[in-house]
């Protein structure tokens, strides 16, 4: 009857209203026959209870362990999701700007928030040399060079972790992660390389864009005219493109000073807009510049450039006005090929348009002679050259535009050429989007000391 030891605590723990007293039960059990079936049954039930109790405790333990496992799993998932969201943000930051400085700034913000790094340096390969974005003078650290040379991360156990940026087989540069307090360990390698993979994709696009953008920008800049004028003149020119983003169009201005001290001013307008017109513009401007410097008079220059344009295998037309200012003789010679008339402000004679026979547009398919005109200049006279975009409005006839320009120029008579130019643009364009390119050149004779 060895179940008695187990029975006693069971009985004592009973919470029923009238539990049997153990002493009473113990007395009865002691007196029982060995083959007493009730006592035997009691023994069997105790054993059963014990087994079941054990099974129950196993289940409790399993349930609580599984619960803990579920919580831990959700905690890991949370980390995983945050990690994925972080990498998603990195991808986004790497892709949403084609400006490398902006991209670096967006990245640093993410990396800081995530505790990955306090700062980064992005190194790009320029002609085989590492160049830091945003700091031209920075020298790459040893780990940076090592990462580039080996194609693997370098700098574990230091405060700078360098990870190579590669696109396919091509090495684009290195990304350095910096920590202000603390160093990078092996465990930072996975995250930093996941970041680098995403940054490299963005950097490749940035490089491609930058290459094309710089090429286009430098080509355009090379086409912009340079004003070269003698001391006796105050020349100001303005260009307003109708097409946003493009820096050159079909309109142009130019000013050149000859070795003899005379100046040649030009404003021209190639038919059409955009790049095709800009290319023709560049060549016409360049040729007129060469003819002017060679010493040709305005009419001959226009004549030559008309022949030149006809010789090219393009079907383009242009209007242009060329003005030669002979400072020594106080005389101005001018010629026009289909261009709106120059506006003259003579302190003695007032504001008036220069009248005189025009040639047809440059490039028309026939030979033409270009008439040239001459006008005397008083000191402090000024002349305005402009393209039709300044005066033409769809809803008006051209005379209205001409009258408005003359009035506006007269109204600003006491001001400097710079101020008068701004006044014309603001008055005539009225801040509205204009449909045509606008070109404006004002040249004023200064009071000469002699």
């Amino acid at each position: 009857m060895d179940f008695r030891e187990q029975l006693e605590p069971i009985l004592r723990a009973l919470r029923s209203s009238a539990p049997p007293r153990w002493q009473d039960v113990a007395v009865r059990l002691a007196a029982a026959e060995p083959d007493d079936v009730v006592v035997q049954t009691l023994g069997e039930l105790v054993e059963q209870l014990e087994q079941q109790q054990e099974e129950l405790s196993w289940h409790r333990a399993e349930l609580s362990q599984t619960n803990a496992g579920l919580l831990a799993l959700h905690s890991e998932l949370d980390q995983e999701r945050r990690h994925n969201a972080f990498l998603d943000d990195v991808s986004r930051a790497s892709a949403t700007s084609l400006d490398s400085t902006e991209m670096c700034a967006a990245l640093v913000q993410l990396l800081r928030a995530r505790g990955v790094a306090d700062a980064i340096t992005m190194w790009t390969l320029e002609d085989g040399n590492l160049q830091a974005i945003g700091d031209e003078d920075a020298e790459p650290a040893q780990s940076t060079r090592r990462a580039l040379a080996t194609g693997e991360a370098a700098g574990v156990d230091t405060a700078r972790l360098s990870v190579p940026l590669t696109a396919g087989p091509r090495s684009l540069g290195v990304l350095d992660f910096h920590r202000v307090d603390g160093i990078f360990g092996e465990s930072d390698l996975a995250t930093s390389s996941s970041v680098a993979v995403r940054v490299a994709v963005g950097l490749r696009n940035i490089n491609d864009y930058k290459r094309e953008h710089e090429l286009a920008e430098r080509l355009q800049r090379a086409m912009l005219p340079r004003l070269m004028v003698p001391d006796e003149l105050d020349v100001v020119a303005r260009y307003r493109s109708a097409t946003s983003g493009v820096q050159v169009g079909g309109d142009w201005f130019d000013a050149v000073t000859r070795p003899d001290g005379s100046a040649v001013l030009t404003v021209g307008d190639v038919t059409g807009h955009g790049l095709d017109a800009a290319v023709v513009m560049g060549r016409l401007q360049n040729a007129l510049n060469a003819y002017a410097l060679e010493g040709h008079r305005p009419a001959l220059s226009l004549q030559l450039v008309h022949d030149l344009l006809r010789s090219w295998d393009i079907r383009s037309y242009a209007t242009a006005v060329v003005v030669e200012v002979d400072v020594a003789e106080n005389v101005m010679r001018w010629a026009s090929a289909g261009h709106p008339p120059p506006l003259l402000d003579d302190p003695h004679g007032g504001v008036r348009y220069l009248e005189g026979e025009n040639a047809s547009m440059l490039g028309v398919p026939f030979h033409q002679e270009v008439p040239e005109h001459e006008v005397e200049l008083s000191p402090r006279s000024s002349v305005v050259l402009y393209s039709d975009g300044l005066i033409e409005r769809r809803t008006e006839d051209i005379d209205t535009g001409l009258a408005r320009l003359a009035a506006a120029y007269e109204a600003a008579r006491t001001r400097s050429p710079q101020k008068r130019a701004e006044h014309l643009l603001s008055t005539l364009l009225n801040g509205e989007a204009h449909e045509d390119d606008v070109c404006l050149l004002i040249c004023q004779l200064l009071e000469t000391s002699d």
Binding site: R60, N67, L70, H74, S75
Partner: protein, 142 residues
């Protein structure tokens, strides 16, 4: 017109009451159309909070209510109340027990992570009341 609310209260006085809380919560979640995954999250959180009530609060009650607002999704709200010593530093208790290894934190922070809404009222000697809300959602097809 809002749907009838049924409040189910379970006394938590012994180990065996925890499994009863699980079952009450599971049935309510099931009746509210919770997915198997959502159901498991709900029951897991309830089980952990019930264990806290028993172990740290010296026992108490769990009250589960199903809120079926017309037009909106069903909300299963469960409040665990005890008259125990309370928690003096709630922020500390809410730190992720999984990483800090603490007993209380494990259930509390885990339940907060699993629940859609979580609230706690406690203070030294003031007992503790923790409320979690779970919202039934359409299973999202990915």
């Amino acid at each position: 017109m809002s749907a009838p609310r049924a409040a189910h209260e379970v006394r938590i006085a012994a180990e065996r009451d925890i499994v009863q809380v699980r079952q009450v919560v599971r049935e309510l979640a099931l009746s509210a159309g919770f997915s198997l995954v959502a159901q498991t999250k709900t029951v897991t959180a309830a089980s952990e909070l019930a264990r806290n009530t028993l172990m740290y609060g010296g026992g108490g009650t769990a009250t589960a209510t199903l809120d079926e607002a017309p037009g909106g999704p069903a909300r299963l709200r469960i409040t665990f109340r005890d008259a125990g010593p309370g928690i003096s530093d709630v922020d500390l208790a809410l730190q992720d027990g999984y990483s800090t290894g603490g007993g209380l934190g494990l259930g509390l922070s885990g339940a907060r992570r699993l629940a859609d809404e979580f609230g706690i009222e406690t203070g030294p000697g003031a007992g503790t009341a923790v409320t979690v809300v779970f919202i039934a959602r359409e299973a999202v097809r990915r």
